[in-house]
């Protein structure tokens, strides 16, 4: 019985960790498939989370009791609103990256690095100027104890419909939509063509610049949503950091070999590792192994490096990713 509870707890916190990773990695996938590398995800996540959390703080019930008394529906609506606002903020912020790297043909890595530095500095600066401290605190806990009658389904109910937030369903929906969009629609196939061979796509009348703009802005939106979901599932305050989830999402993308459902698996694996790193003290056989939690935190990155080394010949990475597109070159 205790063992069961442990498994469910592990699963819940794994799901919680993996959802932001999944969403952001899918954004990164769309972006890279169009031929733009986006290592600005960390910064975009921070910015989206910052704006989203600020929105939550401003619109939630202003007393603790009222905040705790919100029904599932109220919580979910607030959550979705916050995610939307965070996503839009991320989209606007990623416009800087799109403008620099697509319109002005600046180096994609450099402009992304600049964004990564701007976001935390700006978030902390504004938070300290407006709220007087680094943290933005809010009161709503978005975890729902039970999701309607669905929670009564034997194993599934316990796993997916108890003590979760709406982010889980948002993440799954985004995964499915992204899959259908990329592989089953004309626009999606064109987008992938832009990342593989932009000159060929251009010769067939695809507007490379427009497609890439769309892809970068989509990834910005998703990174903003992911940042917001990360911020509200970690605790009730935001401190101007997403603890490296943006970079981890890039690792997820690589580990998932640029394919949607492998990314789901990779996000699950990385989420599990993060969870184990935090809670290995409560898992009997891991306590006996007596490995430092830092090692578990290292595993995803080492695994990604190993995958990179092993698959450097058979990688499905978009061929033109990171290369500036100029119609004049050939």
């Amino acid at each position: 019985m205790i063992f069961n509870v442990l498994i469910y707890d592990l699963m819940h916190s794994t799901l919680e960790t993996m959802i932001p990773l999944l969403i952001v990695a899918i954004g990164a996938m769309i972006c890279e498939k169009s031929g733009v590398t986006n290592i600005a995800l960390e910064g975009i996540m921070i910015f989206g989370a910052f704006v989203g959390v600020w929105f939550i703080k401003a619109t939630e019930p202003q007393t603790l009791i009222l905040a705790a008394a919100q029904t599932n529906t109220e919580k979910s609506i607030l959550f979705l609103e916050g995610a939307l606002i965070g996503g839009v903020a991320g989209l606007l912020f990623s416009w800087l990256h799109a403008y620099a790297s697509i319109s002005l043909k600046a180096d994609q890595t450099i402009s992304a690095t600049a964004l990564n530095l701007i976001a935390p500095a700006l978030a902390v600066f504004i938070a300290r100027s407006v709220f007087g401290g680094r943290q933005i605190m809010f009161k709503t806990s978005f975890k729902m104890r039970e999701v309607g009658p669905l929670a009564n389904i034997p194993i599934f109910g316990d796993l997916f419909f108890k003590s979760v937030n709406v982010g889980l369903y948002v993440g799954i929906a985004i995964l499915l939509v992204a899959y259908v969009f990329l592989y089953k629609t004309k626009t999606g196939l064109r987008l992938m063509a832009c990342g593989e061979n932009p000159h060929a796509a251009d010769s067939l009348g695809v507007n490379i610049y427009r497609v890439r703009y769309g892809a970068v802005l989509t990834s910005g939106f998703l990174a903003g949503v992911g940042g917001f979901i990360f911020a509200v599932s970690v605790g009730k305050q935001f401190e101007g950091t997403v603890s490296g989830y943006g970079f981890l999402a890039i690792a997820v993308l690589i580990f998932g070999n640029w394919k949607p459902f492998r990314i789901l698996f990779a996000a699950f694996f990385f989420g599990l590792m993060k969870t184990i790193a935090v809670s290995y003290a409560s898992i009997p056989f891991l306590v006996e192994l007596d490995i430092s939690s830092q090692i578990y935190k290292m595993v995803p990155y080492i695994a990604t490096l190993v995958v990179l080394i092993a698959t450097s010949k058979t990688s499905h990475a978009p061929k033109a990713a990171g290369k500036i597109y100029d119609q004049g070159t050939r």
Partner: protein, 426 residues
């Protein structure tokens, strides 16, 4: 109505001020153009443009905040003073005479070194975003040697510096190895290696017993100890000599800046006067051509990442080799002091157009602005504004090459137009 008028006036004032500042910038630019030789200036001009735009953005932000507080959009305990803040920011390292100059130089040392690391890699066609990892590993090595081994003073700190350089160099070499042998892109490998380095350092601090220990007497006798989230400080014999402290009057001003300047000279020499430097630069210009010319490209990639790593590791060692410096176990890469120094290296290399001497100047400049930022709270502004300004400067420096081309093209067009009109009149 009042609002609109106010906004209009403010807008006008801003335009005038902007024009004025632009004129000053242009004048400074013209002066510098005479000063520098033509080609070097043309290469450095985008950096000046980026710095100017970044500073303008910072001042604009300060103005907006001042305006918002004046219009009572939000409340703060102490109203910011716009004029004073701008003066404090621009006065930078000169705010408090010799003392603040000393601190500025102290700050500049690791910045210059990481800038050299990234800039050197740029020169050889590689993007060393792995400087944070190399830096933190170098700092760990220096700390370990500085605490675990006891030696007399002058040798101890030299060995520590050497340990930092070797550790950082190895970490960079590994990234080069992945690139050269396994064809893994160095940016992705670097990001992974940064995180591996960070968690490795935390693990090492824990298991080498380098974390500071809080000890409390237990009721039954003996002590119960627990780890603090930060490291112990380095032995006094391993701290860098503070020869400059007496001169400048700052407490922790040490010889780091001399080491950094020495590194600038050495790198300038290596890049411009040696065969190795020539080969590495050739690989940066055109790797296919250099391969065709019979140079060993794989060896060169590993070598230049190794050298970049040595420089970053040296920077880490210099930061930790101060008697009261601790490493914090802070999981966020951007707010981890050592890691964010590595990211600063990217901005400095960009501003310094990857030339060692330019990097030296850019490092000093960044330290100057940061130092100015520290005095901003006297005008009731947050010192994080300095970080905002520097990050905006990098963004502009990514754009500035294009912007500068655009501006100079427009100038050419104007000149051509004027010429055409002139010939018509004739």
């Amino acid at each position: 109505m009042k609002w609109r008028k106010l906004l209009k006036d403010v807008g006008k004032a801003f335009v005038v001020a902007g024009k004025f500042l632009w004129k000053i910038l242009c004048a400074v630019g013209r002066w510098l153009k005479k000063f520098f030789s033509g080609s070097l200036f043309r290469k450095a001009a985008p950096s000046f443009l980026a710095v100017g735009l970044g500073l303008l953005f910072g001042i604009f932000t300060m103005f907006i905040i001042w305006l918002l507080v004046k219009l009572e959009v939000f409340d703060v305990a102490n109203d910011p003073q716009f004029g004073k803040g701008v003066v404090k920011l621009l006065a930078g390292g000169f705010n408090r005479g010799m003392e603040s100059i000393g601190y500025m130089l102290y700050r500049a040392a690791p910045l210059i070194l990481t800038g050299l690391s990234v800039g050197f890699a740029f020169k050889t066609g590689l993007f060393n975003i792995g400087a944070p990892g190399q830096l933190v590993i170098g700092a760990l090595a220096a700390l370990t040697v500085g605490v675990k081994i006891s030696m007399p003073a002058p040798w101890h700190w030299m060995v520590c510096l050497l340990a930092g350089m070797i550790a950082g160099g190895l970490w960079g070499f590994l990234i080069g190895l992945f690139k050269a042998i396994f064809n893994v892109h160095e940016v992705v490998a670097s990001i992974m290696m940064n995180y591996i380095a960070m968690y490795f350092v935390f693990w090492a601090l824990e298991s080498f017993g380098l974390l500071y220990q809080f000890c409390m007497p237990r009721p039954g006798g003996g002590f119960s100890c627990s780890n603090a989230p930060y490291s112990v400080t380095i032995d006094v014999s391993a701290a860098l000599p503070k020869g400059l402290a007496e001169f400048f009057g700052g407490y922790s001003v040490n010889i780091g800046i001399l080491i950094a300047l020495l590194a600038v000279v050495v790198m300038h020499f290596v890049l411009n006067k040696t065969t190795l430097g020539y080969q590495l630069k050739a690989a940066g210009f055109n790797s296919d051509a250099s391969k065709y010319a019979g140079m060993n490209t794989k060896r060169n990639i590993m070598l230049s990442m190794g050298i970049a790593g040595i420089l970053a590791g040296l920077a880490g060692a210099i930061v930790i080799m101060v008697t009261d410096k601790k490493m914090f176990v802070e999981q966020a890469i951007m707010s981890q002091e050592f890691m964010s120094l590595g990211f600063d290296g990217i901005s400095i290399a960009l501003l310094g157009i990857s030339e060692p001497i330019g990097v030296g100047i850019a490092g000093l400049f960044l330290a100057y602005i940061r130092q100015g930022g520290d005095y901003m709270d006297l005008a009731n502004y947050m010192k994080e504004l300095a970080d905002v300004i520097t990050s905006v400067i990098i963004y502009f420096s990514a754009l500035s090459v294009v912007l500068y081309q655009f501006l100079s093209k427009r100038k050419q067009k104007k000149a051509a137009l004027l010429n055409a009109e002139g010939s018509d009149e004739r």
